[in-house]
Subunit: 376 residues, 2 copies
């Protein structure tokens, strides 16, 4: 019997992936770029057991049994086995896979990216594969490939029709920009979600602006953003991050019928960030939004406490919300009257946010070897 347990991180794109050129292989129409979040706060965990005694493959995700016939899972497994050493005795043993996220999937935080990164890392370990397997994680969930590395990660769309060069590369390690912090504002939202896979497909089919974004806007932004990260130039990094989020949601709005992910609470956050940056005469905070209403803010450590206070001012928490802050500690303070005036906010009623996560940039997937760490 073989047992492998891994953890893998969530990543938050600053240059977004939106649109596939190959639906089956998950090859994107543009490069994308992300920060990997610390696994101290959020991670996926997967244990895989391979045993000659197992009668059939089993897959448990967050406590629920899943079909093993799922095409994306099958693609990953097939690809890993294909490059594995064929003489491994356990290559044909059945598998029992158990996967969990230590953060609520309701957070809308691309749990599938961390999940597939974790699964592929564990499979690669199980079958003793060396070298980059980000292209395999990509076949599970596109942005999972970016969760295969820590720090700042570029997913190159590649040009090969088999997707073998559509892989992730680390641009800079987590330690490169140690002051960088990430705040996730989890928005209360009752709207039904629609699948981002479907929405993305509809954008490719109907948005007149998408091609221009993919071919002309994103390449410039990727280049400038990598440079800003390398130089630790927050001013430029923040501007690109916000513009890029806006550009992505513009494409969603240009899709027919439109796919609208931002709601009034999201727009309140956007307005607060711009008002705060204007007050500071510098970009101190950058927002980015994925396919949902939750804001992810990139900011330096020195801005965290004040900006949490800004958020508490425009989007007050409910009373007695004891579990409101998660992750790294925060110490929100009183805002100055001047800053309150500058925010010029239409203050929202309490309860617009479910909770706030404070975290930082972290490392890539990790093998856990202590027996008590296994999920099975």
């Amino acid at each position: 019997m073989k047992v492998v347990t891994c953890i893998a991180p969530v990543n938050i794109a600053v240059i977004k992936y939106w649109g596939k050129s190959d639906e089956d292989l998950i090859i994107p129409i543009n490069d994308s770029l992300s920060g990997t979040l610390s696994m101290d706060t959020m991670c996926a965990k997967t244990t895989i057991i391979a045993s000659p005694e197992l009668q059939e493959n089993i897959f448990w995700l967050n406590g629920k049994e899943q079909s093993f016939d799922n095409k994306r899972l099958a693609n990953c497994l097939q690809e890993v086995k294909q490059i594995a050493d064929k003489s491994l005795p356990h290559l044909n043993w059945k598998l029992s896979i158990k996967s969990e996220n230590n953060f609520p999937t309701a957070a809308g935080l691309a749990s599938s990216a961390a999940g597939y990164a974790c699964m592929v890392t564990a499979l690669a370990k199980l079958y003793e594969i060396k070298g980059d397997v980000s292209y395999i994680a990509r076949m599970g969930s596109g942005s999972a490939c970016r969760s295969m590395y820590g720090g700042w990660v570029l997913w190159c769309k590649g040009s090969s029709s088999d997707g073998k060069d559509s892989i992730a590369k680390q641009i800079a390690p987590a330690a490169h920009w140690p002051e960088m912090r990430v705040i996730v504002l989890v928005v209360n939202d009752e709207k039904k979600k629609y699948s981002s896979t479907d929405a993305m497909k509809r954008s490719v089919q109907t948005s007149e602006l998408l091609k221009h974004r993919a071919n002309h806007v994103v390449p410039k932004m990727v280049k400038a953003c990598i440079e800003a990260i390398k130089k630790k130039d927050f001013e430029t990094f923040a501007e690109i991050t916000m513009k890029e989020s806006n550009s992505f949601h513009a494409i969603c709005q240009d899709t027919y019928p439109p796919c609208v992910y931002l709601n009034d609470t999201s727009h309140t956050i956007i307005a607060a960030v711009h008002a705060y940056n204007e007050f500071k005469s510098a970009n101190k905070v950058a927002y980015t939004f994925d396919a949902g209403p939750n804001a992810v803010l990139y900011l330096l450590e020195s801005s965290v406490d004040e900006f949490i206070s800004v958020i508490n001012y425009v989007l007050p928490p409910m009373d007695n919300n004891g579990d409101y802050y998660k992750g790294l500690p925060v110490s929100p303070s009183q805002l100055s009257q001047k800053l309150k005036m500058a925010l010029n906010a239409s203050i929202q009623k309490p309860g617009g946010l479910k909770y706030i996560i404070h975290t930082k940039i972290g490392e890539g997937p990790k093998l856990l070897s202590e027996p008590q760490e296994h999920l099975l």
Copy 2:
């Protein structure tokens, strides 16, 4: 003493004007296309008195005295006088101008377009000018030029640097498509408005997608939409109208900082229109949104009552809202259970809309000659 009184209509663009290539002359970066709304329901009215006894120019707008030094007003007046017969005795008499809208400016319905169309029509009449003066109305408020004609109107951006060929042309008269109706859903919104002049400028300066829209998307859409109007092909007309509204708001979202005009109520309306059209397996209703959250719906007479019922279902009116329907009569009915299911709506709490205006396509500006019709 000379007295002239005119009325002029509101117009609602189906291909939007967004972005100037010349800020002073108000020359747009793309053609635009609109329907002119009936003056029976909404219009601007202007009376101009020219008298040798007036000591100074006076301008009243909706009951409030305005500065006569306003650059846009001065540009219009100067241009009209320039092409007038210089021997007219009253050419140098002072003016008293009184202008009013018969609809609340709070409706966010481009009151300046109707206002400047009315003013320029009255000035042209006063100074006995023949021929097209839509380029002069354009200098007051860009889209005012489209209110200079009834029916379906194209504003050609033109190519001359003095803007003389940036004029409006009628594509089809009001009588061409007599079944066409227009419903305005006036949304309750407390957000402060920002000037569309400023937002447009910011889009030109910052949106990476705007040029692509202006140069590649709009020309195709204008051509196809004119054809759809000429053929009275509602299916195509509706699709272009909705896509074009989405494309415009995509550009707003791509602007930095973004200018967000649509709110959660607007998106509820968009979702209801798409769900209704899907239920009917045809485009029965088309939405379009200008620089504000209010929806304008184009639809044929036969769909009005049912779609008003759809709106009442997803956005219920407040109780005792006696003045809720304005304009042409409506007879909302009960919705079938099947249609309610198909709407699959997250029904909003009552009061999302202020009121509903029902109107149709109408004629261009008109001279009123009965003495009791003057405002002064």
